[in-house]
C-alpha cells in the first residue's frame, strides 16, 4: 500500500502544532543545530583531518540530496562548487519565491513550521562558513514574511542566531527579503539581482555562476526551502541513513503538490520514487481518484512548465515499457519519460478540460512573467500567448498548431539566458504535439464558422493584422 512518508511535515499537521519556538523546542527543535555545532574536527582513516564543516558537507553529499526547487541538482555538488579561496564572504540565500503554478509545498513549511527552515538554514550556513544569509520570500506571502521575521527574532533571543551562537563562536545573521511579485525572481540569478535592488534580469552563465560570482559578486549558495529543511534531517539521521529513504539517486522525501481534477487535492509527502503517478492520483491515501464519471486526459507532472503527459502514454524506461500512470514519481524516471518532476507539482486534467484553453492559460502566465531581457523568450512568450488567446476565442486557424510549434521551437535549448525559455516553450511544444488533433480541429472549426458567417476565408481583423 502506497502511503505518505512524513519527514519534513512529521509534526506540522499534528493537532495543536504551532509555528512558535516553544512548540518547536518541545518537538526536539534545534537539537540538530546543537549536534552540528558540537562536532569536533576528526582525523580520517587516510590521516587527513576534517573540520566539522567539511563533515556536514560530506554528509550532505553522501545523502544524495537533490534540490527541491525544480532542477533537481545535487545539493552536495552545488555546495562543492563554492569558491572558498576567494577571500570574499560566502552568502547563502533561501529561495522562498515559490511561484511555479501548481506548487504549494514551501509555504506549508513557512507557515506551519518556520523554525525547521531556520534551523536547516543555520546548519547549512555553518557548514559553508556563511555569516550572512537571506530568505528571499515571494511578495504574495506577506504573512509568511511576518512570521519568519518573528521566528528569527525568537531564534535570536535564544542565541540560535546572532553572535556566538550557543557559545560556539559561530556568528550568523539571517534577513528576510520580500520579493515584489515576479515569477522570474525564483530563478537564482534573477533572485540575486532582485536582492541587490535591481531588476531581476537573470545573469549570463558564464561568467556569473552564483557559486563564484553571486550576491555582490561573492560566492553564493541558493537553496530551496525544502532542500534546506532536509539538511537538518541529514545532520540528525546521518547522510547514509537519509540515502536509504526513497530510491537510488532519488533519495529522501518530497512534498508533492497535487491539484486539478482529483477528489482530494493537497500536499502529500512521499519517499521519492516509492509512489507512482497513478497512485498519487487514484490512491485513497493521496488524490483519491477522479471525479465520478470522468476519465483522465492529461497530467502535468512537475509544475506548469513541465511537459505534459497524455493519458495512456507509454514510455521506454531502460528498455522497459512503462505506462504513464506507473511512472515512479522521482527525478530520473520523469526525465527519461521526457518531462520532469520540477517543483513536484502534479496538475491533473480530466476529460472536461478544453486542452486549448488550458494551454492558453499557461501561456498567458508565462507571457506575463517573462522578464523581457533576452529576445526569444521576451517575444516568443507573448506571441504564443496571443496566438492561443486567438485560438481560444474563436479566431483560430487550422494551421495554428504548426504555427505555435514553429514559434515554440525557436525559444528553448540554450537560446535564452535562463531556463524560462524552456519553461514557456515546453508546455506549448508538448500540448500541441500530443493533442494536435484538438488544436487543428478547433482552428478548422473557427475557419468554417467564419467562412459561413462572412463568406471570407479569414476574419478581416486577421488580414489587417497580417499586413503590418
Amino acid at each position: 500500500m502506497p502511503q505518505e512518508y512524513k519527514l519534513i511535515l512529521r509534526q506540522t499537521d499534528e493537532p495543536g502544532y504551532t509555528p512558535d519556538l516553544e512548540c518547536y523546542l518541545r518537538h526536539g527543535g534545534y537539537e540538530s543545530l546543537k549536534k552540528a555545532l558540537a562536532l569536533q574536527p576528526r582525523t580520517l582513516p587516510d590521516g587527513k583531518s576534517q573540520t566539522p564543516q567539511q563533515f556536514i558537507r560530506q554528509e550532505v553529499m553522501t545523502s544524495g540530496l537533490r534540490g527541491r526547487g525544480g532542477a533537481g541538482f545535487s545539493c552536495g555538488l552545488k555546495w562543492s562548487f563554492v569558491d572558498r579561496k576567494s577571500g570574499k564572504p560566502i552568502y547563502l540565500i533561501c529561495n522562498a519565491d515559490e511561484s511555479e503554478p501548481g506548487t504549494f509545498k514551501d509555504r506549508q513549511i513557512i507557515y506551519k513550521d518556520p523554525h525547521q527552515l531556520i534551523e536547516g538554514m543555520i546548519i547549512s550556513c555553518f557548514a559553508n562558513d556563511v555569516h550572512l544569509a537571506y530568505i528571499y520570500i515571494r511578495g504574495e506571502m506577506p504573512d509568511g514574511a511576518k512570521l519568519l521575521n518573528r521566528c528569527l527574532q525568537e531564534a535570536r533571543a535564544k542565541h540560535f542566531l546572532g553572535k556566538n551562537i550557543l557559545g560556539s563562536g559561530y556568528d550568523l545573521e539571517i534577513y528576510v527579503h520580500r520579493g515584489a511579485g515576479a515569477y522570474i525572481c525564483g530563478e537564482e540569478t534573477g533572485l540575486i539581482e532582485s536582492l541587490e535592488g535591481k531588476r531581476p534580469y537573470p545573469r549570463i552563465k558564464p561568467p556569473y555562476f552564483p557559486a563564484v560570482l553571486g550576491l555582490w559578486m561573492c560566492p553564493t549558495i541558493v537553496n530551496n526551502v525544502e532542500t534546506l529543511c532536509n539538511v537538518k534531517h541529514i545532520v540528525a539521521m546521518g547522510g547514509a541513513e537519509f540515502a536509504k529513504l526513497g530510491t537510488p539517486n532519488n533519495t529522501g522525501t518530497r512534498i508533492v503538490s497535487l491539484s486539478g481534477h482529483v477528489k482530494k487535492p493537497g500536499y502529500y509527502e512521499i519517499e521519492v520514487g516509492r509512489v507512482t503517478i497513478g497512485e498519487l492520483i487514484h490512491d485513497p491515501a493521496f488524490g483519491g481518484g477522479l471525479r465520478p464519471g470522468r476519465s483522465l486526459k492529461a497530467v502535468i507532472p512537475g509544475g506548469s512548465s513541465a511537459k505534459v503527459f497524455k493519458a495512456g502514454e507509454k514510455f521506454n524506461l531502460k528498455g522497459k515499457e512503462v505506462a504513464m500512470l506507473d511512472l515512479p514519481y522521482d527525478f530520473d524516471s520523469l526525465i527519461q519519460a521526457g518531462s520532469m518532476s520540477g517543483s513536484s507539482a502534479i496538475i491533473v486534467l480530466d476529460d472536461s478540460t478544453d486542452i486549448v484553453e488550458a494551454l492558453a492559460n499557461i501561456a498567458e502566465f508565462y507571457a506575463h512573467e517573462s522578464c523581457g531581457q533576452c529576445t526569444p523568450c521576451r517575444e516568443g512568450s507573448l506571441w504564443m500567448s496571443k496566438a492561443l488567446h486567438r485560438l481560444s476565442h474563436g479566431e483560430g486557424r487550422a494551421q495554428d498548431a504548426d504555427y505555435l510549434l514553429k514559434i515554440a521551437d525557436n525559444i528553448p535549448g540554450g537560446r535564452t539566458i535562463c531556463a524560462f525559455g524552456e519553461a514557456c516553450a515546453w508546455p506549448v511544444q508538448s500540448f500541441v504535439a500530443k493533442f494536435k488533433d484538438e488544436f487543428v480541429a478547433k482552428g478548422a472549426a473557427d475557419e468554417a464558422r467564419r467562412a459561413k458567417e462572412h463568406s471570407l476565408p479569414a476574419a478581416p481583423r486577421l488580414l489587417a493584422a497580417a499586413q503590418h
Partner: protein
C-alpha cells in the same frame, strides 16, 4: 619598466580553420580577461552578427543573435584528450549553443558559425525582433545604418507569418534635450543603458515593464542630459534613439564621410564629418583607442554649425577694399621684409594647425617678432572634455609660438604697441580686443594683418583681412593635450575666396624668407617634422588615421 610577460597562445578552430589566439584579451574596460568566442572569431575574420554586444561596453548577452555552436576536445578518464584514429583530437559537440560574446574559448575548442543550426537560430532571433518592430524603414532615420535592416537581408524572411496585433509603446519620447526615443523601434539591447551607467557614470536610463512590454525610459524625474548622450544614438543598433540635431536632415547614404578631428577642446577626439554638397550635417566619433575610444562629447559633436554661417569672411580686403590674394600677399610680404627687427608681433591661435603655426614661427623668427596664442578654458570632466578648449595649444608650445602658460606675452605686446615700438601686428583667428589689445591700441599700428573666418572687432580694424578656413575645409594636423599628433582631412570647400592659412602663409614665408620646398601639406608637414625637435621622425604618411604620440 620590465615588459609584461607574454600572453600564452591557444589553438582554436573557427569554421574549420585553425588559428592561434591569445588566452587573454582586453575586455571592454581594458582588463585582460579570457578571450571570448566573438573575439576569436574576429581574429579569424569571421563575422558573428550581434546587437547587444559592443567591444567597449560590459557584456549583456541579451540579444542572442551571436549564438554559435561549438565543440571541445573529448577527455578520457585520465583527463587526457581522446584521439581519433587519424591522430586528431576527438571533438564533442556541445548539445547547447553558446553566446559568442560571453563564452570564453578553451584550448582545442571548435566554433561553428555557419551550420544550419546556427543559421536557424539567427533567423529565429531576427524574426522575434521583427514581430513587434514597426516595419517603417522608409520613414525611419536609422535606415542605411540599421543593424536590423542589415541582418534582415542576411537572415530575414520575405514575408511575415506574424498575424497577431503588435505591441504598441510610446513614440517620439522626449528622452533628453538632444535625443528622441521611439520605444517601438527599441530592441532592448541595453547598450545605451550600459553606456551611460558604466562609461559616463550617469545611471539615468533603465527598462520598465515586463516581457514584450519592456520599455526603455529615463528614471522618473530624471532628464537624460549628460554631456555624452548622443553616443547612445551612435551605438543604438536600430532607429530607437535619434539625434534631434540630425534626425530627418539627410539620408545617411548620401553623406560623404571625412576623417577629421574635433576642435572643441584639447582632447582631439577623432571624428567623421558627414557632409553633402558642401554642407556639414553631423559629426560622429571615429574610434581611436589612444584618444577617445569610440566616444565623443555632445558639446564637441554639436559644435559645427558656425562653419556654415552666412557671415563667414569670404573676401580678401585691403583697408576695406576687395582685392586679390596675390596683391594682398605681395603687399604684406614687402612690408614684413622691410620691417625693422622688434617692430612686428604675431598673435596666433591655438586653433591653428601645427603647419600654420610653424610657418608663423618662421615668419616671426625672420622678423624678430614676439609671438603668443590666447588661452581658452572651460569646465572639463573625467571622460573626454578637457579644460583647455583649444585644439592645438600643445602644438603651439612645441613649435615655440607660446609658453606653457598661453597668453603671458599679450600684456608686453600691448605695452610695446602703446609705446610705439610694435608697428605691425599679425592676428590669426582671435579677437584681440577681448584680450587687452583694444581698438585704441590697434589704431596705433601702422599695419594690422588679420586672418579669420568670422567677423569680429579685430577684423573690423584690419588693414589686411585674409579669409581663412575652418578645419573642415582644409587639411593639417593638431597636437592634442597628451602630445598625440593627428591629421584631419578636408570635408567641404571653403566659402568665397577663403584659403587655407597654411596655403597663403606659405606664399608669405616664401616671399619674406626666400625659403621653399613645401608646396603640399604632406611636404610641409615633413619639413616641419625635421625642423621641430618634438616632431622629429614624424611623416605625414606615418601619422596614419589615428596619429602618433610625441614626447611633450
Amino acid at each position: 619598466m620590465p615588459a609584461p610577460p607574454p600572453i600564452e597562445k591557444i589553438r582554436v578552430k573557427v569554421d574549420g580553420r585553425e588559428l592561434e589566439v591569445p588566452r587573454l584579451m582586453a575586455d571592454w574596460s581594458g582588463r585582460l580577461m579570457p578571450t571570448t568566442m566573438i573575439q576569436a572569431c574576429e581574429l579569424a575574420k569571421v563575422d558573428v552578427p550581434h546587437y547587444c554586444y559592443h567591444p567597449k561596453l560590459p557584456i549583456a548577452g541579451n540579444c542572442r543573435m551571436c549564438l554559435v555552436e561549438f565543440g571541445t576536445p573529448a577527455l578520457g578518464p585520465d583527463r587526457k584528450p581522446i584521439l581519433n584514429p587519424d591522430g586528431t583530437a576527438k571533438i564533442v559537440k556541445s548539445p547547447r549553443p553558446a553566446i559568442a560574446c560571453a563564452t570564453p574559448v578553451s584550448p582545442g575548442m571548435e566554433i561553428y558559425t555557419n551550420t544550419p543550426g546556427v543559421k536557424q537560430m539567427r533567423e529565429g532571433v531576427l524574426e522575434f525582433l521583427l514581430i513587434n518592430h514597426p516595419l517603417d524603414c522608409p520613414i525611419c532615420d536609422q535606415a542605411g545604418e540599421c543593424k536590423l535592416q542589415e541582418y534582415s537581408a542576411d537572415y530575414g524572411q520575405s514575408a511575415s507569418r506574424f498575424v497577431e496585433p503588435k505591441v504598441h509603446k510610446p513614440k517620439a519620447v522626449d528622452l533628453g534635450p538632444r535625443l528622441v526615443l521611439d520605444d517601438e523601434r527599441c530592441i532592448l539591447c541595453t547598450r545605451c543603458i550600459r553606456f551611460t551607467k558604466d562609461i559616463v557614470g550617469d545611471d539615468a536610463l533603465g527598462i520598465v515593464n515586463r516581457g514584450s512590454y519592456n520599455t526603455l525610459t529615463a528614471y522618473p524625474g530624471r532628464v537624460f542630459d549628460n554631456n555624452y548622450t548622443l553616443n547612445t544614438v551612435d551605438i543604438c543598433p536600430v532607429g530607437a534613439l535619434t539625434s534631434k540635431d540630425f534626425r530627418f536632415q539627410m539620408r545617411v547614404w548620401f553623406l560623404k564621410e571625412t576623417k577629421s578631428v574635433c576642435t572643441s577642446c584639447a582632447t582631439g577626439c577623432n571624428i567623421i564629418i558627414g557632409s553633402r554638397a558642401e554642407k556639414i550635417y553631423r559629426y560622429t566619433p571615429r574610434e581611436n583607442a589612444a584618444v577617445n575610444g569610440p566616444w565623443m562629447c555632445d558639446y564637441g559633436r554639436l559644435n559645427y554649425r558656425w562653419i556654415g554661417r552666412v557671415d563667414r569672411l569670404e573676401d580678401v580686403l585691403v583697408r576695406g577694399r576687395t582685392t586679390t590674394w596675390t596683391a594682398a600677399l605681395n603687399d604684406i610680404a614687402d612690408g614684413l621684409k622691410k620691417a625693422p627687427p622688434g617692430s612686428v608681433a604675431v598673435i596666433a591661435s591655438a586653433r591653428q594647425t601645427n603647419e600654420e603655426l610653424w610657418l608663423l614661427k618662421k615668419l616671426a623668427d625672420r622678423c624678430g617678432a614676439l609671438t603668443d596664442v590666447i588661452g581658452r578654458f572651460g569646465d572639463g570632466d573625467k571622460l573626454l572634455l578637457n579644460t583647455d578648449r583649444n585644439p592645438n595649444k600643445t602644438g603651439a608650445r612645441l613649435i615655440g609660438i607660446c609658453q606653457t602658460s598661453a597668453g603671458i606675452k599679450l600684456m608686453p605686446i600691448a605695452e610695446l604697441i602703446r609705446a610705439g615700438k610694435i608697428k605691425t601686428l599679425l592676428v590669426f583667428g582671435e579677437d584681440v580686443t577681448k584680450h587687452g589689445i583694444g581698438v585704441d591700441l590697434l589704431g596705433k599700428l601702422d599695419t594690422l594683418i588679420v586672418s579669420d573666418i568670422l567677423p569680429n572687432e579685430t577684423t573690423k580694424q584690419a588693414h589686411y583681412l585674409l579669409p581663412g578656413c575652418t578645419h573642415a575645409e582644409k587639411r593639417g594636423t593638431f597636437t592634442n593635450t597628451k602630445g598625440r599628433v593627428q591629421k584631419f582631412m578636408q570635408a567641404v570647400e571653403p566659402p568665397g575666396e577663403a584659403r587655407p592659412e597654411w596655403d597663403f602663409l606659405h606664399d608669405v614665408v616664401y616671399n619674406v624668407t626666400g625659403q621653399d620646398g613645401f608646396l603640399t601639406i604632406e611636404g610641409l608637414f615633413n619639413e616641419m617634422a625635421k625642423d621641430v625637435p618634438a616632431f622629429n621622425g614624424l611623416t605625414w604618411a606615418g601619422l596614419g588615421d589615428t596619429g602618433v604620440t610625441v614626447k611633450i
